[in-house]
């Protein structure tokens, strides 16, 4: 597909999402979520489309997208692993766990492996403090992380 055709397709899919959701109260965040769900990230070319539809400026949409860590400006790996770095997990050895994960995957935080299998991200509290240290793989939470569980995670993302 040519570049232009690809961007026309992104525009039409984004427009469909926006049309469906713009009547919501406070529609910007739900639209951005849905767009990220659709494309795996929020493509830059969708920002002016959203702005025009909601009668707000490009700058405002950009401000919101860049404020929230969850919105990506490029696609993530096939899997996304979020490791909690907040206080409760830290108190249960979270820092060491995080370092082990990083080492096992061979990447740092905010990075994606070369084979595009996994993206590693920090998160600040998953609400799973009782089971600290915690992580979340592709939306599924995992509690009481230890060496075995890390190995399981690595196996899963590599498979």
């Amino acid at each position: 597909m040519s570049m232009q055709a690809a961007s026309t397709q992104i525009a039409s899919r984004a427009t469909a999402i926006i049309d469906e959701m713009k009547a919501l109260e406070g529609p910007l965040l739900p639209i951005l979520h849905e767009i990220q769900e659709e494309f795996g990230h929020v493509p830059a070319e969708t920002l002016p489309i959203i702005a025009k539809a909601l009668n707000i400026s490009n700058a405002e949409v950009h401000g919101v997208v860049t404020f929230y860590h969850d919105y990506r400006n490029h696609p993530a790996g096939r899997h996304v692993l979020k490791v909690c770095r907040a206080e409760a997990c830290q108190s249960m050895g979270g820092d060491a766990i995080a370092a082990q994960i990083s080492q096992a995957l061979g990447i740092g935080f905010h990075e994606t492996t070369k084979d595009n299998s996994v993206t590693l991200e920090p998160v600040y509290c998953l609400g799973l403090c009782a089971c600290a240290p915690a992580a979340m793989l592709d939306g599924e939470v995992i509690g009481r992380l230890d060496a075995d569980k890390i190995e399981e995670i690595v196996q899963e993302v590599r498979s």
Binding site: A44, L47, P48, A51, N55, I56, S57, N58, A59, E60, V61, H62, G63, T66, F67
Partner: protein, 958 residues
């Protein structure tokens, strides 16, 4: 002299009536409810340290420097976000506060370069000032670790550092100096209403971002300068300040672009203009500005400006530079010869809407007293003459009814045939602010203009009428109001002539004015007309603002009357928030009309046939005045072609470019024997001139401009005229050369004569203006402080007059040969014929006029975006490049007229308003076809331009 100092109260004033008394550091202060502690404290003379607060925008509470302690309350609240309360006891300076402020400041400075001595803001930096204020003596943190200051850290790239953005021609953005106070972002949103800036990211990564992390020039920024004004550091700085340095004195004056009439401080270093800064006490602009007034003054020193008088025998000769004396004697002799040879009425003149009231007054005086005829006209002929006629007939005055502040109380704003976002940007910002607060907007315009779909201020109703159908649509609004019983009977009975109303009501109730019928000819869906009418009639305070899209039609005067009727029907006249307001195009077009520039009127709109009025001037000027109206501009040109009109003095107007049917204008000018052009540049009209008198800019003279709200604003001289004389001096010298005994030493003496002879200006004098800042006429014994709102208890003419408004389609109709309708307009960065703005950096935004064509019409004709197209009407043809857009409806094309090589007025016809001859610029039937390049006319024209602009080089002395 020094800089004009303005107090920054930190937060905007509260409008509440209830007063609150509190104590600040032991001083008692009383302020309106809702005032912040910061502002109250400033009122008491105590300045609380601050960085993120400034009184142009709402409080934000982010810098944490303005903390105070309040007895009986915990903690240290920020004084900008905390409103006053009765009996509150505030301490602004305690040991605890001092420590906190110093700590905060230390953090700010730890991520800010310490290059103060070489910084452009040195001496005008709030960060520097506040560091001094809080007693910062040490920064313990150093610059190791993360920072935004250095390009490289220990030899490695610092990815947090961002390069300076110099893309805007007038200011720079240096992110390394930014303290992320958000003042620029808030100014862009709250003051300007463009929302072009945001804070991207979060925490330490927060940065100011134009658009989507774009250079300023590629973002949505309209370069109004509000952000530069708001910035407390050197992050956003005028390039002129970087080049020249800080100003040392400033003078308050008035912008010379549009009819908003913004007040500015001209900040000077010696006689060099460093920058123009909008003046907060300016009652028209309240501290805001646009790209033209704030930045586009470079034309004043442009190399093409002509500084020496020039004459030539024939227009094919090269120009010859001569002394002022020779030029003026030559002109006087020529004018006398023409009158002797062809008769008293064979010469005339045109006053300028760009010059001061005093200068305009002198030009009409020269014509009436010196030429002994009334052949005087002004460019208002081609813009707002129907306003003068329509509002004069219905209400009794030829001017808008409100001040600009009034829009703050409007609930429903109807904009007809105007695009304030482009043509009156500072008013547009004030209007949009009100819309964001909840006012409703109705726009009648053939195009989807910037006013229709502006962010956060979208029109609730856009009625995209076909050009030329204004009368039908506005009358149809009245039809709905009358037939649905939405009119204000009490108001009409008290304030208007009831029997005239009954006649009018009967007229508009006819089925042919119903939205359903009008839909067929205007293309506006009937339901939209009905809903818009209901909203205007019942939505609270309804205000109408209109522009040249109303007046520049064959039925321009009728539309103005229809608008006036609408306001009377609904009782929307005579108080704040309502009214009928023409948005005047030029800085002093109101004033030039006020000053007797029309052939039938003496100053103050008094008809020349009135014996009592003529008596006043006859006894003062010592001559007998002609009691018959003289020639209008089109009549002068007709008479010239016929051979009975031979000489003209044109001050500051380019009729060849701005008047309709260019070929007719050039034929008229070519038939004259002495054309005198008094202007800054060899403009298009000067191609046919025999005498060129160099003009002076608004920076080089004293005087007054009267803006669209009738406000008389002072213009103050900040530098000596580069051409030697202010325009009023040149006119005086010409009068003296013609034998008149004029001896004005200063423009204030001219104003004294105006006040002495014109009742609506009776109390106006320079002393009074200095004292009051500005006044709105009428300003006399009855209204000593001027008149912000007119027709308060009764109409000026007595009873408001309803007049029937029958729609008559223009003779300019589409047909098989010319199937499209052309309409014209403006763009934000350029001004009118562009003589000034084309000679500034503003050309980066608009370097050529483009023809907007709907995709449907373009496809039918095989036109792609950017293609050269031929635009052809019954009058002529030209070529320009196409811009494919759905802003215009199918069947309608649109262009701007800022560039002379486009020659849009070669296309426009000589149809004009039935009452005032205002040309029908806004409707021309045209055809559009692909083309290879410039038309024959454009090539000939370019060729003649080259030849006619030649100035003979002086022969070297032997």
């Amino acid at each position: 002299m020094g800089l004009v100092h303005e107090i920054d109260y930190g937060t905007p004033a509260s409008k509440a009536e209830k007063q609150i008394t509190l104590s600040v550091d032991g001083f008692t202060v009383t302020v309106p409810e809702g005032t912040s502690i910061m502002r109250a404290s400033m009122e008491a003379g105590i300045a609380i340290p601050k960085l993120c607060a400034t009184d142009m925008v709402d409080a934000f509470g982010s810098c944490r420097l303005c903390l105070v302690e309040i007895e009986g309350r915990n903690g240290t609240p920020s004084s900008c976000t905390t409103p006053v309360a009765p009996g509150m006891v505030v301490h602004t300076q305690t040991g605890r506060l001092k420590d906190i402020r110093r700590g905060v400041m230390e953090l700010y400075i730890s991520d800010h370069p310490l290059d103060c001595l070489t910084c452009a803001a040195n001496g005008d930096c709030e960060l520097q000032t506040q560091a001094g204020v809080v007693g910062l003596r040490d920064v313990r943190y150093g610059y190791e670790g993360d920072n935004h200051v250095f390009k490289k850290m220990d030899g490695a790239e610092n990815f947090k550092w961002m390069a300076k953005d110099e893309s805007n021609p007038y200011f720079t953005y240096d992110p390394s100096k930014c303290i992320v106070c958000s003042r620029c972002v808030r100014a862009c949103e709250e003051v300007q209403g463009t929302f072009a800036l945001t804070i991207e990211g979060r925490g330490f990564g927060s940065r100011v971002s134009p658009g989507m992390h774009q250079p300023f020039i590629d973002s949505e920024c309209v370069s109004c300068g509000a952000c530069v004004q708001a910035c407390p550091t050197a992050t956003l700085t005028e390039k002129s300040v970087i080049q020249i340095g800080q100003p040392e004195h400033s003078v308050v004056t008035t912008c010379a672009y549009c009819g908003v009439g913004c007040s500015f401080k001209a900040e000077m270093r010696g006689d060099e203009l460093v920058r123009m800064v909008p003046y907060k006490d300016g009652k028209a602009n309240r501290g805001h500005s646009c790209v033209k007034g704030r930045f586009a003054y470079g034309y004043a020193t442009h190399k093409e400006r002509i500084l020496n008088p020039m004459i030539r025998e024939k227009i094919t000769d090269p120009w010859r530079e001569v002394s002022w004396e020779e030029a003026l004697t030559h002109t006087a002799n020529e004018f006398r010869r023409l009158q002797y040879q062809y008769g008293r009425t064979a010469i005339g003149g045109i006053t300028s809407s760009r010059c001061t009231n005093e200068e305009t007054y002198l030009v009409q005086k020269l014509i009436r007293q010196g030429f002994l005829n009334n052949n005087v006209d002004t460019c208002a002929r081609v813009c707002h003459s129907p306003t003068g006629y329509g509002l004069g007939q219905t209400y009794g005055t030829s001017a808008g009814t409100q001040d600009f502040d009034s829009v703050e109380d409007s609930d429903v704003i109807m904009v007809i045939g105007a695009n304030p976002s482009a043509a009156h940007p500072v008013f547009a910002s004030r209007m949009k602010k009100r819309i964001r607060q909840g006012a409703k907007l109705i726009v009648l315009d053939p195009r989807v203009t910037e006013t229709v779909d502006s962010v956060h201020a979208k029109a609730d109703y856009h009625l995209p009428l076909k050009p030329g159908t204004n009368v039908a649509v506005v009358t149809s609004l009245a039809h709905v109001i009358v037939t649905e019983g939405l009119f204000d009977e009490q108001f009409i009975r008290e304030r208007c002539d009831w029997s005239e109303f009954e006649d009018y009501a009967g007229f508009v109730s006819d089925e042919r004015h119903s939205p359903e019928q009008v839909e067929k000819l205007s293309g506006v869906p009937a339901e939209k007309i009905r809903e818009a009418a209901r909203l205007y009639a019942t939505g609270g305070n309804g205000a109408i603002y209109y522009g040249l899209g109303v007046t520049e039609h064959s039925q321009g005067s009728t539309t103005v009357i229809a608008i006036a009727n609408l306001a009377m029907l609904t009782g929307n006249i005579g108080r704040r928030g309502v009214g009928v307001n023409p948005l005047r195009g030029q800085n002093n077009v109101q004033g030039s009309c006020d000053m007797g520039s029309f052939p039938h009127e003496l100053p103050g709109y008094r008809h020349i046939s009135g014996d009592a009025v003529r008596d006043i001037y006859e006894s003062l000027w010592g001559v007998k005045l002609d009691n018959e109206p003289g020639l209008r501009i089109p009549n002068m040109l007709d008479a010239a072609v016929e051979g009975t009109f031979k000489g003209i003095y044109i001050q500051g107007e380019d009729i060849l470019q701005s008047d309709p049917d260019t070929k007719h204008v050039s034929a008229g000018l070519a038939a004259m024997e002495c054309v005198v052009v008094h202007d800054l540049f060899l403009n298009e009209t000067a191609r046919y001139a025999h005498v060129f008198l160099p003009g002076s800019t608004f920076l080089e003279k004293d005087g007054t401009f009267t803006n669209a709200e009738r406000r008389i604003n002072r213009v103050r001289k900040v530098m000596a005229p580069k051409n030697g004389f202010a325009d009023w001096e040149v006119t005086q010298k010409l009068a003296q050369a013609m034998g008149l005994n004029w001896n004005y030493q200063h423009p204030s003496e001219i104003m004294d004569e105006i006040a002495q002879t014109t009742p609506s200006f009776a109390k106006v004098s320079y002393d009074y203006l200095d004292k009051m800042g500005s006044v709105q006429w009428p300003c006399n014994e009855a209204a000593p402080e001027g008149t912000p709102i007119m027709h308060i208890d009764h109409f000026v003419r007595g009873k408001g007059k309803f007049i029937r408004t029958e729609y008559v389609a223009t003779d300019e109709k589409t047909g098989p040969r010319f199937p499209l309708l052309l309409t014209t307009g403006r763009i934000l960065s350029q001004y009118n014929v562009g003589a000034q703005t084309r000679r500034t950096e503003n050309v980066v935004w608009h370097s050529e006029d483009r023809l907007e064509v709907h995709p449907h019409d373009a496809e039918n004709r095989g036109i792609r975006d950017g293609d050269w197209v031929r635009l052809q009407s019954r009058a002529g043809e030209t070529t320009l490049r196409a811009l494919i857009t759905d802003r215009v409806s199918p069947g309608v094309v649109y262009t701007t007229f800022h560039h002379p090589d486009t020659q849009a007025n070669v296309i426009t016809t000589d149809f004009s308003d039935w009452a005032t001859n205002c040309p029908e610029y806004k409707v021309t039937a045209v055809q559009v076809a692909p083309s290879n390049g410039p038309s024959e006319w454009q090539e000939e024209y370019e060729d003649l331009s080259q030849r006619s602009r030649k100035i003979a080089t002086l022969e070297a002395a032997e």
